[in-house]
């Protein structure tokens, strides 16, 4: 039931909305196939990001893929957190552990999700940034992958989604967007810092590719 519901929401409704109306194109979506479990790491420009990525997840993985979102935004009350789970399949994590020492550890929440055999969609930048500028990655993704070395990380760069729904704006507008999906990364001995660096570099490489793609001016 849950799979069918999510299939209709993401693969029919949102898929139509994002490909036909907004104009999103996935480049390399085949690289998502064939992984039992994965961590999708992407740059973050807008609230539309998680939904866009969910439309590209293979059907049989859909109900087992959980985008990670901030509890101070998508979980301000019981009702909003229910909606976040019911329609978007989100997992909520507290972002400001330093200010509220009582909060549970976000790394542990994500680790539990992975231990249950589910996949996650993660934005290592931590919060939405300006379109076209990559913020320094938070190290959380490194600590998480250090504990789960058998699971691959798939780097993703989204170009143009910042123009669809920029931070601090309520108007959603169509804009041609390209989502570049990279090769899966496996980690063996790297430390948390190194893992974070490698993922950041791979996403920057995809960004380079998108810039090159645009400058084929004769």
């Amino acid at each position: 039931m849950r799979t069918l519901f999510l299939y209709l929401t993401f693969k029919v409704f949102w898929r139509f909305f994002f490909s036909v109306i907004i104009g999103v194109r996935f480049i390399g979506a085949r690289k998502l196939l064939g992984h039992k479990q994965f961590v999708l790491a992407s740059n973050h420009n807008s609230h539309a990001d998680a939904v866009t990525l969910m439309t590209a997840i293979p059907n049989n993985r859909l109900s087992k893929t959980r985008p990670i979102a901030a509890a101070d935004y998508f979980g301000i009350n019981k009702f909003v957190s229910f909606i976040s789970w019911f329609f978007l399949n989100l997992v909520l994590i507290p972002r400001k552990k330093a200010e509220n020492p009582g909060d549970s550890d976000p790394i542990e929440i994500m680790d539990d999700v992975l231990k249950k055999g589910q996949s996650i969609i993660l934005f290592p930048e931590g919060s939405r940034g300006e379109a076209g500028i990559l913020q320094t990655f938070k190290k959380g993704v490194g600590y998480l992958m250090e504990k789960n070395r058998s699971i691959p990380v798939i780097p993703v760069y989204m170009e143009g989604i910042g123009r669809v729904l920029p931070k601090g704006n309520k108007i959603i507008l169509p804009s041609l967007t390209k989502v570049y999906i990279g090769e899966a990364l496996y980690f063996k001995e790297e430390s948390a810092e190194e893992i974070t660096k490698i993922i950041e570099q791979k996403i920057l490489d995809l960004k380079e590719k998108s810039v090159k793609y645009k400058q084929n001016f004769n």
Partner: protein
């Protein structure tokens, strides 16, 4: 289903043009295929990609234009939408322009609904008068005045190019029928698109074969006087033989074809100049070998209103 097929009631003239279009596509595909057997080059591969795309575009267009008028209105409306979306993805606008952009998108269904209703008086002034007043006001309401002049000029221009001009294609279907003229609005639409696109192709062919003297080297280095004039003359000849699709006389149809070719060139170089300014080669990547939607319909956005008003003047 039976009802739908019964409504596809094509006059002999239109059936003939469909035959001609299929013939041209088959001939060029065959030509490039045999040419490829003897010699292959990068140029030929591009021609093949382009021809493949032409097959797709011709099929889509003929289906949209001939099955039912409702699909024609929706199809042309979506074409406007795709063109406008490409335009906004390429030009640089401010964050405070987003409300104005939203109104420009909303103008599309309104304009096409007016075409569908056949309310000519409002159809013809909705964008040039009402939206021209409303868009700058919405921009003012955003409160940000830095660079507002560029947005005030750019947004109305974007809907004039992508919506107002193209929506005249939809209005051709809404024109009252003329007694004794079978093809009707469908015929006029087919004539306009056939001549505009053949003019583009002819300019390309003449330019490739005989092109020596560049017209606007700074804007469009591939455009030559030989190509332009060759296209002009070819379009007039093709237009003369396609006269049966229109209710016009010999002289009128030649004048119209001449203007389609000339104005098509203008549309082409205007969009080229915008692309130069923004530093991109193509407006998008929707059509392999051609670029974006707007790269294909650049000439059409200007030939459509000219064609519409000339036909209106001559025949009504």
């Amino acid at each position: 289903m039976d009802k739908l097929i019964a409504s596809v009631n094509l006059s002999g003239e239109i059936q003939m043009v469909i035959g001609v279009i299929l013939g041209i596509l088959l001939l060029s595909s065959f030509l490039f295929w045999t040419w490829g057997l003897f010699r292959s080059s990068a140029g030929l591969t591009e021609l093949k990609t382009r021809t493949k795309s032409w097959w797709g575009m011709a099929t889509l267009f003929l289906l949209a234009a001939l099955i039912s008028p409702i699909i024609t209105y929706i199809g042309i409306g979506f074409l406007s939408f795709a063109a406008l979306r490409e335009f906004y993805s390429v030009i640089q606008l401010r964050k405070s322009d987003r409300a104005g952009m939203l109104w420009c998108y909303l103008a599309i269904p309104i304009q096409y609904y007016l075409a569908y209703m056949g309310w000519y008086e409002l159809f013809i002034i909705f964008i040039p008068v009402f939206m021209f007043i409303w868009i700058p006001f919405v921009l003012v309401l955003s409160g940000e005045t830095k660079m507002i002049m560029t947005s005030m000029a750019g947004l109305p221009t974007s809907i004039m190019l992508c919506v107002f001009g193209l929506s005249h294609m939809a209005y051709l279907i809404s024109l009252p029928s003329i007694p004794g003229f079978d093809p009707g609005g469908k015929g006029l639409l087919l004539f306009l698109i056939f001549i505009t696109q053949m003019n583009d192709v002819m300019q390309f062919i003449w330019g490739k074969l005989f092109g020596r003297h560049k017209i606007l080297p700074k804007i469009s280095p591939n455009k030559t006087w030989e190509g332009f004039l060759g296209g002009l003359v070819s379009s007039m000849i093709i237009g003369y033989f396609m006269k049966f699709l229109t209710p016009l006389g010999d002289g009128e149809v030649i004048i119209i074809s001449f203007l389609i070719a000339g104005v098509g060139f203008i549309g082409d170089v205007v969009i080229s100049a915008i692309k130069r300014d923004m530093g991109v080669k193509d407006m998008g990547g929707a059509i392999p070998g051609h670029g974006g939607v707007l790269d294909r319909i650049d000439s059409l956005s200007m030939t459509t209103p000219i064609f519409f008003h000339l036909v209106y003047f001559f025949a009504y």
